[in-house]
Symmetry: C2
Subunit: 605 residues, 2 copies
């Protein structure tokens, strides 16, 4: 038996698994699996150097299924290399199964979640770059569908991948010409894709995606390429089952039992029992770096000193970089604004410029992190909304990312609303494993940044453009789920909850109220998620009235988080259309400055 015969048989085995699993599940995307069966077989049983017993080690080749709806065939491949059982793949999409409708890292061999199209190549870029940084001579393979080639995020990764000359990155395009609701933009015009991708400095190869010999040949050529490789595989959706081949209207539809029977009768004859030693298995040696981080840093600020929390963040990154050689920092051409520039200057080989392409930056970060790096990335808080889908999917990837969003709120001033982060707390709070931190001074900013280095999940720190006074001593400690009671007395009539820039407004309001005979409790809610429920509830019980004040829209931020605890806060937030102006004017207009707080407290009492 030749290699080609072996792989053809494996391809049809993968077809059978995919069809059986989706029919049993009564849902799924079998025709999308059928078009890439030869590609998957060639990758998993010939091309990729993998150690199935240690598939998560980082000196394996990597595979990412960017066309995540073809999950069944990925599970089938994992079964055929012995990572999951053949029985298990029939639990596809069941409530208790790790084999979900689209891939999630609940199964060995799957590092990231895919299923929202256009994400895989960014992640692959990050992994390929990681291997290069670690001098691991392994490759990263990303299988894309042609529908997702319309996603801009794919072109961001093609662009950066070409620029970085990531020769260990190979993309394969399953060009089956059919999207979900009709033909793709370019159908089988391989030259349309080829000319576009070549222009971005990749080597492009075109082949018949169902011809194993051709696939073997192009994979071999790709390996010799000094640029990233893009293999355009001409395929047929539904290939291998006569009544499905190139049929419109069959996207995302499982076969009935009858149809499955017919399909099996066509495919089974092509599946051969055989004795064949796979030549692509290796012994992997390098685990993903494990273990919790326990970094701690010191600050040495003076009370009253003025420094922006964004700058303190930048300084903290450098301190962490000195402690942690596994740390990488990403930027999207705003490093002098976010202050990641300090790290870029100090540790250029651990800094990656992703240019103005936030979607790809997030995907790259995920890929790097899954290869064992500790990744910090930042942009303006508002520009992180550009990558909400990628951040959402990072959550399902169980990724560990440390994200900073600067230029929070109307208090950035004259640049105006296009640059103002006013919804970022809502966005990051919505992540199921999100931690949201919002320091008000440089001490807490540095310490919370360091805390992020030790956290799991997706942690977000919101930083401020303007300089704010240091209010904490260098010995203060900060933790997720914590808060700082800054002013309190037994006769407090109201509690003011603030974070970031509004903490300083609240402290000034405290003074004014005190002069007027009103005692207020002031609490710095630097941990927005999780909130310090105990302290806040206690304050509510004792003072009976709560005011929250945030430089953020009213929806989904500090105020609503506090409200969800049942504390009935009076929520001061940005409620009017934002626009340019001086920071003080804008805060005042929104009623979230000192006067705004004082007036509202008086109204309540």
């Amino acid at each position: 038996m030749s290699v080609v015969e072996y792989l053809e048989s494996k391809a049809n085995t993968l077809r059978l698994h995919s069809l059986r699993a989706t029919t049993k599940a009564k849902s799924g995307h079998p025709t999308s699996c059928l078009s890439c069966a030869e590609i998957m077989a060639t990758l998993f049983f010939k091309e990729m150097s993998i150690d199935p017993r240690n598939i998560d080690y980082i000196d394996n080749d990597e595979f990412i299924l960017s066309k995540g709806h073809a999950a069944p065939i990925l599970y089938a491949a994992l079964a055929e290399i012995g990572i999951v059982s053949r029985e298990k793949i029939l639990t596809l999409r069941e409530f208790s199964s790790e084999l979900e409708g689209h891939p999630v890292p609940r199964v060995e061999g799957i590092r990231v979640a895919t299923g929202s199209l256009g994400h895989g190549l960014s992640i692959g870029l990050g992994m390929a770059y990681a291997k290069r940084l670690r001098n691991i001579e392994r490759r990263v393979y990303v299988l894309l569908g042609d529908g997702e080639m319309a996603e801009g995020s794919v072109w961001e990764s093609i662009n950066l991948g070409g620029k970085l000359r990531l020769s260990n990155l190979t993309a394969i395009l399953d060009m089956n010409s059919l999207g979900q609701t009709g033909p793709t933009m370019f159908q089988w015009d391989s030259n349309a894709y080829a000319s576009r991708v070549r222009a971005f400095d990749w080597n492009v190869f075109i082949c018949d995606g169902h011809d194993i010999s051709e696939l073997i040949k192009v994979f071999s050529e790709a390996k010799r390429s000094d640029k990233p490789s893009f293999i355009i595989a001409k395929t047929v959706k539904g290939k291998g089952v006569s009544f499905l081949e190139n049929a419109e209207g069959r996207h995302g539809m499982a076969l009935s039992e009858d149809e499955l029977g017919k399909a099996e009768r066509e495919i089974l004859p092509k599946v051969k029992e055989m004795d064949f030693q796979p030549a692509n298995l290796i012994k992997a040696m390098r685990r993903v770096r494990d273990g919790r981080n326990r970094f701690s840093t010191k600050t040495s600020y003076k009370l009253g000193e003025m420094l922006a929390t964004r700058e303190a963040y930048g300084r903290a990154l450098v301190k962490l970089g000195e402690l942690n050689e596994n740390m990488i920092v990403l930027d999207g051409d705003v490093k002098n604004s976010t202050f990641t520039t300090f790290f870029f200057e100090k540790f250029p080989r651990r800094s990656l410029q992703c240019y103005i392409a936030e979607q790809n930056m997030i995907g790259t970060a995920i890929g790097l992190q899954k290869q064992g790096f500790d990744v910090f990335l930042s942009s303006f808080a508002c520009f992180l909304t550009r990558a909400f889908d990628q951040i959402r999917m990072a959550s399902y990837s169980r990724a560990n990312l440390k994200i900073a969003g600067s230029h929070a709120g109307v208090s950035i001033g004259a640049d105006g609303p296009s640059q103002m982060g006013l919804e970022d707390l809502a966005m990051f709070r919505s992540l199921i494993n999100g931690i949201v931190l919002y320091p008000c001074d440089a001490v807490s900013s540095e310490k919370l940044t360091c805390l992020m280095a030790n956290l799991e999940g997706i942690s977000y720190i919101r930083t401020t453009r303007s300089r704010t006074p240091i209010i904490y001593g260098n010995d203060e400690g900060f933790h997720a789920g914590g808060s700082k009671v800054l002013r309190q007395s037994k006769s407090d009539e109201v509690t003011i909850l603030a974070a970031g820039v509004t903490v300083h407004e609240a402290l000034k309001a405290y003074d004014e109220l005190k002069e007027g005979g009103v005692d207020a409790r002031v609490i710095d809610c630097y941990s927005i998620k999780p909130l310090d429920e105990r302290t806040l509830k206690k304050a509510f019980e004792e003072t009976k009235r709560v005011v929250t004040v945030e430089d953020h829209y009213a929806e989904g931020g500090l105020g609503e988080a506090v409200a969800s605890l049942g504390l009935k806060p009076y929520i001061l937030a940005v409620r009017r259309m934002p626009h340019s102006g001086e920071p003080e004017e804008l805060l005042a207009e929104q009623g979230i400055d000192t006067d705004g707080i004082v007036n509202n407290v008086k109204k309540i009492l």
Copy 2:
């Protein structure tokens, strides 16, 4: 005086305005303005056919400043054609000025907000397509910076623009080689851009961006192109001021008074007083279609009939399409899932396939709407997160969009979390002029869709994958800020607030509770923003206890919206990591099904 001399003088006038305005404002991006002065002068005083007295009419040429931080030079151009006064441009960035740090449509001649990079070409695509639909032989010009060429959204629009062969769309790239923090990816390698853009089927022209004759020539060639045109203008950041030309570290920095003086001395000699009749002024005749919509449609469903709200939405679109010939519907290759397919089949010439590229779809929608079309667009709710930045900016553009997000919640079932909308209510609630609607049955779905046709701002309707029973009669009315009290009595001990799929769970819970001797009020909060505050507060006063239940994460959705009213709700929502399974199993796991509601009510009482 020749045309070239005239335009050179105008270019330097624009330089002076930009420098003076930013120095006075003590902030802004003068060097980014200086690099495009000749481009702007040639466009506004020679190339573009415009009627300054009726600049918002749609038979003008259009200009979009995608590199929005160069706002000062746009304002300068508008001043020089008489739309704003020369004094006004010195109010740049002031609190009371419409001339904000980045363009917003508060000034005639500016239709959309820019400032988040990579948005302008999508919007321009929409405008160009609109003019084609209306047979208006005018052009759309979009000025981009080279930093933003890294944004995937730009490539989405280049891709679709090429495919649609929008020959009336001209992009100009201000290739000054410097981004914010350093050189761009390709600096002055015009061929790097040219080869990439040509591959997407645009005609590409390269010229010296400071040579007026060359600019005139390429604009003329572009006009004759049968494809969209991409003009690569080689420029120098800071051009025209010797100490700024190509200087690093000067991005986003206004000149000091001293520096301004020096700059003026260099530029003033190049500004000539002249008598010159601009030849590019026209008389525009066609207003943007104005006036509120007042469409109404009828439904004819039977109580108990089963239909998915997403399908009812699709039917409503067709009814609206029959009433409104100005209506356009956009899709991102999911029309058979969102049910916009009905409209696509019925009105193909008013339907636009945007393929799997949500960012560009939003931008295109904005462009179409600003040319007077009524635009509906949809995707899976979760995929709209791909375009959060564009939706955010649509808000600042004061755009009027009707957006539908389908496949809400865990109740989509087996596809798993990559396809589940669980944060979309938070996202759309965060828009300052957002309206968020969430129907539970086909009647309300159709009627709310029709309501959206008549609303201003950005309205969002959340639809469900599964079929749900009709519970409303065809005579029922629905309005923004409304709700429906479905069950109530004088002895209600608790209020259950639900929306969408959980309304049906709540009704079943009502029956169970009643059997157990507990009376509950059940309210369908189909209007999530704005909430029906009066009805909800009344219910709280009368029943004392409120439970909210939503198929959405706990943050930023119905529960927190209700909490922000001070009603201290017990919030049932998706709190556990979502995964595949049957809809019923998943709802139960999250405690948002009938049992979950019953158990929680019992716990509270």
